[in-house]
């Protein structure tokens, strides 16, 4: 595997994001929703702490509990909606435009192509997360938040969003139609997100399995400032599996 080839493809696709309106719309939408959410949470938190100081009632709110957890928790939901737009074109468009023929007849490996695509979308997620760094900066400027939960929230969000990305890339490789790819990505991500709902209604073994499969279930530790290696392993395996299946799909579609 050659990192240079991966980078050639990643850079091409990353640039492509910015030559179509999609990236701008996704980033602008993300900033708007997140900005609104952050300031809403912030003012809500302020009200709570004021009440606490005045009447000494309720529980003492901490920045981590009152702001960081809800804000980054909600960010995960927003990625659930936005990632399909980020990944839907990656392979579907290459197939539609026949440019996949250029990629597959160039001396690059399928693995390099898949990784390149993943990295390009990962970079876009990084850009979006980069924009939100203003929130911790504001918190540090005005208060005294814990650094740990912020760092782990970012790590968890990055891993969770990458899972959506790998689902999205897989579906993008399965069809020439971007809309189909995007819709299936959303549906599947939602399924893995909500699968633990079914856990409550099923037997103990199933409930454990379903809970384990749930994407969001593995996030809660990160939100509290904890890094559990089993969560990291789960996310990394999820990403790896999605990319591996994409590789298989692309390979098999040549055989047809």
């Amino acid at each position: 595997m050659s990192p240079k080839n991966v980078w050639t493809i990643a850079r091409k696709d990353f640039r492509t994001y910015f030559s179509s309106p999609i990236a701008y719309i996704v980033i602008a939408g993300f900033m708007l929703i997140m900005g609104w959410m952050f300031f809403y949470t912030l003012s809500h938190f302020e009200m709570q702490s004021m009440q606490y100081q005045q009447f000494n009632t309720g529980k003492s709110p901490s920045l981590t509990e009152g702001i960081i957890r809800p804000v980054y928790g909600n960010m995960n939901v927003i990625f659930l909606f936005l990632v399909p737009f980020i990944t839907m074109r990656l392979f579907a468009e290459e197939r539609k435009l026949h440019t996949i023929e250029l990629l597959l007849t160039s001396p690059v490996r399928l693995t390099e192509i898949v990784l390149g695509k993943f990295i390009s979308s990962f970079l876009l997620i990084l850009v979006m997360l980069g924009v939100t760094l203003t929130y911790p900066i504001i918190l540090f400027a005005t208060g005294n938040p814990e650094l740990g939960p912020i760092v782990t929230s970012y790590l968890g969000t990055l891993l969770l969003a990458s899972c959506y990305l790998s689902i999205g890339i897989l579906f993008s490789s399965l069809t020439e139609n971007q809309i189909v790819a995007g819709s299936l990505t959303f549906a599947t991500s939602l399924f893995f997100w909500l699968v633990n709902w079914a856990a409550q209604a099923s037997g103990p073994i199933w409930s454990e399995i379903l809970n384990y499969l749930s994407l969001i279930g593995h996030y809660s530790n990160f939100g509290q400032g904890l890094i559990d290696s089993s969560d990291v392993i789960y996310y990394l395996s999820f990403i790896g599996l999605g990319l591996f299946l994409t590789h298989r799909v692309l390979d098999s579609f040549r055989w047809r």
């Binding site: 026949h98 250029l102 001396p107």
Partner: protein, 316 residues
Amino acid sequence: MIQVSHLTKFYGPRAAVNDLTFEVKKGEIVGFLGPNGAGKSTTMKILTGFMPASSGSAKIAGYDVFASPLEVKRNIGFLPENPPVYPEMQVQDYLQFAAELHQVPREKLRTAVDHALTKTSLGDVRHRLIGNLSKGFRQRVGLAQALVHNPAILILDEPTVGLDPKQIIEIRELIKGLGGEHTVILSSHILPEVTATCERIIVISKGRIVAEDTIDQLTTRIKKGVIYSLVVKNPDPTGVAAIRNIPGIHTVTQAGPKLVIEVQSGTNEIRDQIIETAVKKEMGVLEFSAEKVSLEEIFLQLTTIETPTQSTGATV
């Protein structure tokens, strides 16, 4: 440089390419000629490692296409049927991307791109978005992409499709100039295309090779030939057989009431004999005409006529 042996490709139960065997030597320009659906693109996709064959083997620059695809791809420039271009990219950026995909070293990228632009006369549009270019220009960008890493072997699927006459001539000249140093295999379904650029043609039809020869030989072989076309009321088999048995007659192909008769050299004698035979067998001559055989007709016969009495294919 290119060795193809018993190559077969099935799409489901249908063979798109059937037992293809041929060879292309270094520096040769070979034309792959065949009507729509003959299997030209399929063969090229297999040669470039885009898709595997069902059976048979192909070697390019000494490497097996299936066993060492990366080495094969390093030696190939490929222009697919649809130019594989990104509409949202600038011509120059696109060519640079194509060069990087082929691992052109960083310090040589600029010159590689510039060369490709010059060769395909795209210098003026280097900063234009490919999506805004006309079809002919896009085709040229596709061609530039195949050339940009200066590959030893070029595989071009209908390189001049969509170009205007002036550009066709330019691109043909360009391709001709590639011979010697590069090995070129190009496909087309129009004969003048290959006669203008290639030294040798391989005619394929329905996935099989039906003729393979140098242009010169094909031309001399039928230079003196004449094709008679005879339309009769009653094309009964004994009559057709009788005509076929006239000495000097090369082939007779029947399409309904029409007999296409190819002779070695058109003499009055043979013409009289054909008509006499037809009259004697009471076939009822409706029409009789003669025309000089052109390569075009040979090609048409080789590839389009399909009758039980077909004898053309094997004669070339």
